[in-house]
């Protein structure tokens, strides 16, 4: 009962916040709502016994990615354009497509059959601590993707610097 209550709160908040994120005309406000949204999602992760993911969600998403967004928003500073039209294309058609997709996907959920249960039960993860269990998996079975991920980040860093660097006027 209490769990369902919790979930209900989180789900409601998440959906409302998502809507706020995509509908605010001021990007700064969008970012702020998104920040709140990320906290709620992190709370949902905690609820699902994924404390490390929750922490990462806050540190990386809220602490790094969203700050980047915020920076860019502030750098561009588009305040005078806020009075302009905020919608490109036609929103009703997009709405119908999205709603249709939602209906189809949720309808398909009914036929979902859970797969076999894995080795990491909640108790097992708790006894080992989530970070350790995840780390073991990352550094053994997923070592190669992990290294690739580091390469992806490296490329992104280089790419971002190259793209955003102002050409020095000689």
């Amino acid at each position: 009962m209490l769990q369902q209550l919790f979930f209900g709160y989180y789900a409601f908040a998440i959906i409302i916040l998502s809507l706020l994120v995509v509908t605010r005309s001021n990007p700064v406000h969008s970012v702020m709502w998104m920040l709140l949204l990320f906290f709620h999602i992190a709370g949902l992760y905690l609820f699902l016994n994924a404390e490390f993911i929750a922490a990462i969600q806050v540190i990386v998403y809220a602490g790094a990615i969203l700050v980047l967004f915020l920076f860019v928003v502030l750098l561009l500073n588009l305040r005078e354009e806020l009075s302009l039209r905020q919608v490109a294309g036609s929103w009703p058609s997009a709405f119908f497509i999205v709603a249709g997709l939602f209906v189809v996907v949720t309808a398909a959920l009914g036929s979902y059959v859970p797969g076999p249960v894995g080795a990491y039960s909640i108790a097992a993860v708790r006894s080992e601590t989530h970070v350790k269990a995840l780390g073991k998996l990352l550094y053994t079975e997923y070592l190669f993707p992990f290294e690739i991920a580091s390469l992806v980040l490296l490329v992104a860093v280089v790419g971002a610097v190259v793209l955003a660097k102002r050409k020095l006027r000689s």
């Binding site: 990615i65 995840l134 991920a149």
Partner: protein, 100 residues
């Protein structure tokens, strides 16, 4: 006990909201944030699957999704900045050089 379906439905809803934002907004930064929203929706479903199937692989996947999201944000925002330098606008409907 909350059934898995609830989480999945929530995830689908957030995903669709993100998609709606991407399809309709003309501010390129908000479009970008909509994409992040969609990624988060996927993360929710991955974590909930992980929880209900008692398998940490979903978490590993989320980890990678976040990595990619970070890389994407860095590159994407750099692109937005250089776009803005050239066009003085962040509105996609004014970036239509590819028009037929």
């Amino acid at each position: 006990m909350v059934p898995l379906h609830w989480y999945l439905t929530l995830s689908a809803a957030v995903f669709m909201i993100g998609m709606f934002g991407f399809l309709t907004r003309r501010n390129i930064i908000i479009m970008f944030m909509s994409v992040e929203l969609m990624l988060n929706a996927v993360n929710i479903s991955l974590v909930s699957f992980s929880h209900y199937l008692q398998d940490l692989r979903g978490h590993v996947l989320v980890f990678f999704v976040i990595t990619v999201a970070a890389a994407e944000a860095a590159i994407g925002l750099a692109i937005i900045i250089s776009l803005f330098r050239n066009k003085q606008t962040a509105h996609v409907d004014e970036m239509n050089e590819m028009k037929g």
